[in-house]
Symmetry: C2
Subunit: 335 residues, 2 copies
């Protein structure tokens, strides 16, 4: 990305092993993330031409001398954060905040090849070469599914619970799938787009509401005996969506928020009086990745449905335009 | 309280049974809460003369027709919120947000007698008449101890964990006691008052730090291998104290905040990037009250130490002055 709205596919130097813990991965599928739209729209500043992309499925082509587990030829998937998976923070399940973490955004995976730091901690080996039709689902596990899963987990989705989901983007839809998989009895999602409403139902939503803000909160309370939802996922990241989420939860309920909150400020007293548990941040996708890969491999879940446009890598600019103009929910790029 | 700084002890009408679920309790001990200082200092507006107080230990003198469990003559303690203890919110342990809840602040317990709504749900019966020396500890259970306990619980205090406590008032000190009782290995508290430092150590603090803000955060990280505390209690309620608490927790750590947050706003992105669990609000003291009464009765804990001034009720105005001027941490009033 050279500037807001200016995405170009160019030849760059081949990635190489920089640290002994690195791997070089040939990317078989990458994609465009909602968060890639922040610089595209000029909301987050760019400092010169920037490699893009942080999600990937691929094949290991080289490994550094200190890589012990991952081997050349392995089919792998990784999350958007490279992590050692051995420090105290990783072991507690917060690999996205590993003391050694490297954001894949600083390297870029919308490419034919990418360097993956901390390969042994970061990469999850697939059982073999994935069938082509599994690629979208595996790629989803790399970020949006893992993020939605984390949010649903933070919302304490489980048997007997009602979970509300604020946001019908790829993460919100993944959270619907996750909440149902985790056993939630009722999953209520806010959506106005007919396609996304249909997909939300397909992924397990029991109630799709067109209302937003206070009207959504009122409907969720109506559906839950006046109490509010047990858990709520926030997957938008605006001030309105945060309060919609917090307001939809009952006192003592759990709000998992994963929308990146640009320019949001929260009134402390209002938050205090809500009495909710609030947990979120950059999702520790690596925590869930082995389980998610397994579920996808067994075809028990199909999070790949969130991709509604596939383009060859060289048409990346068209993919950004489609997502920016909301013609696509999520775009898969094939190098 | 007639106006900020204007506290008077006056004769008022005797309380009576209003609802069939009410009890009338003769108050044997009441006290002044840090939150009573908000209107005293003019931070929260008063709408005419207002009865004050929401903590109490006493003896039941009358019960309404619908009261089944509580009997005339019972020695009782209750929390600062009356609750039915039967609704779905109460049963989940959030009695302070009971669908029928009544704030005792609207009734006033700094009095010879008080009306207690929802008596069966609100009051916890003592095993008998308490020894006089147990009154302070039982009264502490009514609010500050229960609030500190909730905060330590929300901070996931437990074996092997380091818990930091921001605030050395009665709630912060109670949280120190709670964190240790819940098994925390290390309890780090921020305090600059020599008396409170000594009391914090007596209640179980392992480390007392004079630093505040970023300097406190840096010291906590030093003490925890650079990671930050597993759990943090926030018991002040300012923006600085909130960030001090959030900053002291490791990613994925738990922050229990119980300082009433007047005029605090939180930057959403900063909160997001902290990766902490945040939980707080008006403490559901009733959840913990039976256990706390039991611990006090067995003299396993002595939270009564947070009271450092006892006055007869008619000298309430002097008690307010002493707390306002920080000459006292917490004032017990005996009717």
């Amino acid at each position: 990305m050279h500037a807001p709205g200016d995405v170009r596919v160019e030849d760059r130097d081949e990635p190489t092993i920089v640290e002994a813990t690195d791997a070089v991965v040939r990317v078989t599928a990458a994609c465009i993330c909602g968060s890639d739209l922040w610089p595209y729209r000029g909301v987050v500043p760019l400092h010169g031409p920037t490699p893009m992309g942080h999600e990937y499925v691929g094949v290991v082509e080289q490994v550094g001398d200190a890589v012990r587990e991952i081997r050349v030829g392995d089919h792998v998937v990784g999350s958007f954060v490279a992590s050692d998976n051995t420090c105290e923070i990783c072991r507690a399940g917060y690999q996205s905040r590993c003391v050694e973490h490297v954001m894949m955004t600083t390297i870029g995976t919308q490419a034919e090849r990418t360097r993956v730091p901390l390969a042994d901690g970061t990469l999850v080996r697939l059982p073999g070469e994935p069938d082509a039709d599994l690629l979208p689902a595996l790629l989803a596990a790399s970020d949006v599914l893992g993020t939605g899963w984390f949010a649903a987990d933070a919302a304490h989705a489980g048997p007997g619970r009602t979970v509300a989901v604020v946001g019908d983007g790829a993460v919100g839809l993944s959270a619907v799938l996750a909440a149902r998989h985790l056993g939630a009895e009722r999953v209520v999602v806010s959506s106005r787009h007919p396609d996304r409403q249909a997909l939300a139902r397909e992924l397990g939503a029991t109630d799709v509401l067109a209302e937003r803000g206070d009207a959504f909160v009122a409907r969720v309370k109506e559906l839950t005996g006046g109490y509010g939802a047990h858990g709520v996922v926030e997957a938008v990241g605006t001030e309105e969506s945060m309060w919609q989420a917090i307001g939809s939860a009952r006192p003592g309920g759990h709000v998992g928020y994963v929308g990146v909150t640009h320019g949001v400020t929260l009134d402390g007293l209002r938050l205090f009086m809500s009495g909710v548990h609030l947990h979120g941040g950059p999702a520790p996708v690596r925590r869930y990745l082995p389980e998610l890969v397994d579920l996808v491999w067994q075809r028990a879940i199909d999070p790949g449905k969130v991709f509604d446009l596939t383009l060859p890598l060289e048409k990346a600019a068209e993919g950004y335009r489609a997502m920016d103009e909301r013609r696509a929910t999520k775009v898969l790029l094939t190098p």
